[in-house]
Symmetry: C2
Subunit: 496 residues, 2 copies
C-alpha cells in the first residue's frame, strides 16, 4: 500500500487512541469520580484534550494528506473517503489553538459539576455564567473555522454533518404541523384514563438482571462492553470497550429498562462499526442523528411492541410476580406505551418527545442569534414548555436544568434526537418492507435479522455517506417526518 497512506493511518490511530482515553476519563467522571476530585479531573481532561489536539494537528498528517491529495486517483474509493474526512478533521483541528481546546475541556469539566450542583439546588443563576461562557466558546470556535456568521450551523455540523438550522427548520415545521393535532387527540383520550403507573417496588437487583438479559438478547456483546450506573444514562466507547450506563429507581422500572435499551441501541452501533477502521471515517459513525436513530428504533419500534412483550412478559412476571400481580397483559402493554405529558424529556412518551426537542432547538437558535439572553432562558423555557406541552415547570430543576448537554458545550445536539426519530421511523418502514414478518422474530425473542440489516445498511457503512444521503440510499426517499407521524398515529391511535 501507498506509503503516505500508511503514515496517515498511523497518525490517525495514535490520535484515536488518545481520544479513546479522553472518552474513558469522561465515563469515569460520571460513574466513579470521588466527589472532591472534580477540579483535578478537570485538569486531567484538559491535559489529555491538549495532547489529543496536538496529535490531531500533527504536521505529519498534513504532509501525508498533501501527498495523497496530489495523486488522489491512485487511491481506491474507500481510501479516498478516508483522505476526504481526514482532511476535514485536520483543517478543523488546525484552525483551533491548543489553548482554546484545553480551555474548553477544562470549562466543560467545571461546568458539568456546576450543573449537577445547580440541578440539586434547583438554582439556575449560579450555573448561568457557565452556559454563557460555553456560548462564547462555541461562537469563538465557529469564528476560528470561518463560520463566524453561522455559529449555530457550525454547532449542528459538528454533530450532524450535512444538516443545518434551515434544513432542520423545514423538517421540524412539517413535523410540528402533523404532531400538534395528533397530540391533542391522544391527550384528550389519555386524560380519560388512569394517570398513575401501577408499577411500584421493583427490587434493583432483579431490574438489573432483567435488563442485562434483554440487552444481551438484543445483541449487545458483554464481552466487549459493560453497563454501570450514572445520574444521566449515556454510552461511551467503541469496538471492544463500549460502556453504557443506566440508573435505578424502585418505582420506575420501565425507566431503567428503556434507558438501557436506548443505550444498547447506541452500543450495538458502536460494536458494529468496522473494528479495524476505528481510526478512520470507514469505522466511525455517521453523526448523532444516525446514532439516535439506532437507539430510538430499538427502544421504541422494537421494544415497545406487542411482539417484544409477547416474548419477554413471562420472564418479567417470573422476576416481578408480586409487583405485577393485579396488572393484566393489556394493562402492562398500555403502561409501557403510556402517554402522559411530562416536563422531563427523558421521561417523555414517544408522542410528546419531539415537542421537547423542538422547544430546545428554538431556544438554541435564539441563544446563538442573540435574541435570547442566557439570564432569560428559564422564562423562555417555561413559556415554551407551556405553549408546546401544556404544562409549566414549577422550578428550574424540572425545566432548564434537567439536561446535561449544555454543561458540556453540546449546543446543536438536541435536534439529533428528533432527527433520529425520523430516521428510525423511515428505516423501520424500509426494513419491514424487506421483511414483513420481522415482528414474528421478536415474539420468539430473536433479533438477529434486524441487527444484521442494521449492520449491513448502517453500521458497516461507517461515515462513507452523510446521514441524509444514507437514509436516501437505504429507503429510496429523502428524509421526511411523514413516516414518523404515520408510525405514531398507528401505534398510539390503536391505544388512545
Amino acid at each position: 500500500m501507498n506509503d503516505a497512506y500508511l503514515r496517515l493511518i498511523e497518525r490517525l490511530k495514535h490520535r484515536h487512541l488518545i481520544g479513546s482515553v479522553q472518552g474513558l476519563l469522561g465515563w469515569d467522571e460520571q460513574v466513579n469520580l470521588p466527589p472532591q476530585s472534580a477540579d483535578f479531573r478537570a485538569e486531567q481532561m484538559a491535559t489529555i484534550a491538549g495532547l489529543e489536539h496536538a496529535a490531531a494537528s500533527d504536521g505529519r498528517i498534513g504532509e501525508a494528506l498533501a501527498q495523497l491529495e496530489a495523486a488522489i486517483d491512485d487511491l481506491d474509493s474507500d481510501q479516498q473517503i478516508v483522505v476526504r474526512e481526514a482532511r476535514k478533521d485536520f483543517d478543523r483541528v488546525t484552525k483551533l489553538p491548543a489553548e482554546f481546546v484545553e480551555e474548553k475541556a477544562r470549562h466543560s469539566s467545571a461546568a458539568y459539576h456546576a450543573w449537577t450542583k445547580a440541578r440539586t439546588d434547583r438554582e439556575f443563576e449560579p450555573y448561568a455564567p457557565f452556559i454563557a461562557k460555553h456560548l462564547e466558546l462555541a461562537k469563538r470556535e465557529a469564528d476560528y473555522q470561518g463560520w463566524g456568521d453561522r455559529p449555530y450551523d457550525y454547532a449542528i455540523e459538528l454533530h450532524d454533518p450535512g444538516f443545518s438550522a434551515e434544513v432542520i427548520d423545514g423538517l421540524f415545521a412539517e413535523l410540528k404541523a402533523g404532531l400538534i393535532p395528533l397530540v391533542q387527540k391522544i391527550d384528550a383520550a389519555a386524560a380519560a384514563q388512569s394517570s398513575q403507573s401501577p408499577l411500584r417496588g421493583f427490587p434493583v437487583d432483579a431490574q438489573r438482571e432483567f435488563l442485562e438479559e434483554v440487552t444481551a438478547k438484543l445483541g449487545f456483546d458483554y464481552g466487549r462492553g459493560r453497563i454501570d450506573v450514572s445520574p444521566h444514562p449515556f454510552c461511551e466507547g467503541s469496538g471492544t470497550d463500549v460502556r453504557m450506563t443506566t440508573r435505578f429507581q424502585e418505582d420506575e422500572p420501565l425507566d431503567s429498562l428503556f434507558s438501557s435499551i436506548h443505550e444498547t441501541g447506541h452500543g450495538l452501533y458502536e460494536q458494529g462499526l468496522p473494528m479495524a477502521d476505528h481510526a478512520t471515517a470507514l469505522g466511525q459513525h455517521a453523526g448523532m442523528a444516525m446514532h439516535e436513530s439506532q437507539s430510538r428504533m430499538w427502544e421504541n419500534q422494537v421494544c415497545r411492541s406487542r411482539a417484544f412483550w409477547q416474548h419477554f412478559e413471562p420472564r418479567f412476571r417470573e422476576l416481578f410476580g408480586g409487583q405485577v400481580k393485579g396488572v393484566s397483559s393489556d394493562e402492562l402493554y398500555r403502561e409501557i406505551n403510556a402517554v402522559r405529558p411530562t416536563l422531563i424529556r427523558v421521561d417523555s412518551d414517544e408522542v410528546h418527545y419531539n415537542l421537547h426537542i423542538i422547544l430546545r432547538f428554538e431556544l438554541e437558535k435564539k441563544l446563538f442569534s442573540g435574541e435570547l439572553a442566557v439570564a432569560d432562558i428559564p422564562t423562555a423555557w417555561n413559556d415554551g414548555c407551556e405553549e408546546l406541552l401544556g404544562c409549566r415547570p414549577q422550578h428550574d430543576g424540572e425545566g432548564v436544568l434537567q439536561d446535561v448537554h449544555w454543561s458540556g458545550g453540546a449546543f446543536g445536539y438536541f435536534p439529533s434526537y428528533c432527527l433520529g426519530n425520523m430516521i428510525a421511523a423511515q428505516n423501520w418502514n424500509a426494513v419491514r418492507q424487506e421483511m414483513p414478518d420481522l415482528e414474528g422474530d421478536f415474539a420468539k425473542g430473536e433479533f438477529g435479522r434486524l441487527l444484521e440489516w442494521l449492520r449491513r445498511n448502517v453500521h458497516q457503512q461507517g461515515k462513507r455517506l452523510s446521514a441524509l444521503d444514507r437514509v436516501e440510499v437505504v429507503t429510496k426517499a429523502p428524509l421526511s417526518p411523514q413516516p414518523l407521524l404515520t408510525y405514531l398515529a398507528e401505534r398510539y391511535g390503536s391505544l388512545y
Copy 2:
C-alpha cells in the same frame, strides 16, 4: 519566585497529570475492563506511557534544571530537594528511549492478561515467555541507566531508593535467624489447636458495610477516594482520587476486611501527602518500603490488636450475629491472629509472611544473576517453599502464579513488603514511646492521634529523605529487624 523554578514546576505538573491518567487506566484495567478489550487497553497504555515519557524528558525540564543547578544556593532547602529529585528523574527518563518505554507498557498489559489466564489454567509454561521478556527488559533498562553490572540493584532502587540487594541481604539474614526458631515454636503450638476457621457464610453486602465503616473510622476520606472489587487488591492514585480495591468471599470475611485495611494504610499515606506538591518530591512518597510500612502498621499493629476489637466487636456481632453465634470473643481474637502456614502470601499470617518474601527475594536475585532460568522457577519456588514454610505447592496456581507483580515487570518490589514490616514495627515502638496510652484510643474507636503522628512524621515529609534516613530520624536508630522480631514474639507468644 525564581522563573526557572516556576517553569520546572509547570513541566513537572504536566507530567504528573499524564502519569495520573496512566494510573487510572491501570486501575480501570483491573476493575472494569471488558474481557475482550485487553489488546486495545495495551495499546492505550502504551500510547499514554509514550506521552508520559515525552513529557518527562521534555528539554525544557533539562534547561530549567541546568539554570537552577548553576545557582542552587538561591533556592531554599525544599526547593533544592525538588531540584535534586527532578534531576534524578530527568536523567533516568532521558536515558530510556521512548520506544523502550512504550514496549514495556505494552508488554506489561499483555503479560497481565497472560498471567490471569495462566493462574486460572494453573499453567506456568505459556506465561514463562512473558516473565523472560520482562527480565530482558529490566536488564536492558538497567543497562540504559549505567547499572548494567547491577541490574537487580537498579530494580530495587526503582522502588526503594537507598536500598540494595546487599543491604537487604544483611537485614533479611538477621531477620531469618530470629524468625525461624520463633516460627518453629509457634507452629508446634498452633498444630495443637484447631486448623479450621469457624467463620462461614458472611453475606457480601454486610462485609462491605463493615469494612467501609472501619476504613472510614481509621481516617480514609471517601470524599477523596473509593473502594471497588478486583481480583488482586491494590491502591492507586493520590490526593483527591485514591482508589482502593478488595475482593469478597463469603467464607473469608477476614480476608476482605484486612486486605481493605491494608489498602487503607496505603490510601491514608496518599491522602496525607502534601496535596499542592504532588508533582514534586515534596508531595511524593518515600518508596514502597515506607508505603508498605503504612499499610502493614494499620493492618497488623492496629487492627489485629485486642483494643481495636474491643471497640469493633459489638458492631461485628450486630452485623454477623448468626455467623459468630458460637464463637467467643477470645476465639474471635485468636481467629484474627490465627497462625496457619499457607502457600499463599496474601493469605499468610504475620509470623510466616516474611518467609514468603525471603523466598521471592532469593529467587529474584538468582534470576538476575542468571543462576536460575525462567523455565526452572516453578521447581525452585516449590523447593524454597518446602524449605522455608514446610509445605509444597500442588500446582503453580498456589505457587509461582499467585502474585501479579512479575507480570508488570515489578522485580525488586517484593522486598518492600518485608522492609515495610520492619519499618512498621520500629515506628510502632517510637509512637508508643511517645504515647504509651495509644491503644486506649483504639478501644474507643479513635485513631486520630496515630494518624496525626504518621501525617507529621511520614506523610507530610514527602520524599525529603530516603526511607532508611527517615526511619533513623523518627526512631533515633538505624533500621533493624529486631523490633519486628520482638513485636511478633510478644503478640504471638501470648497466643501460642
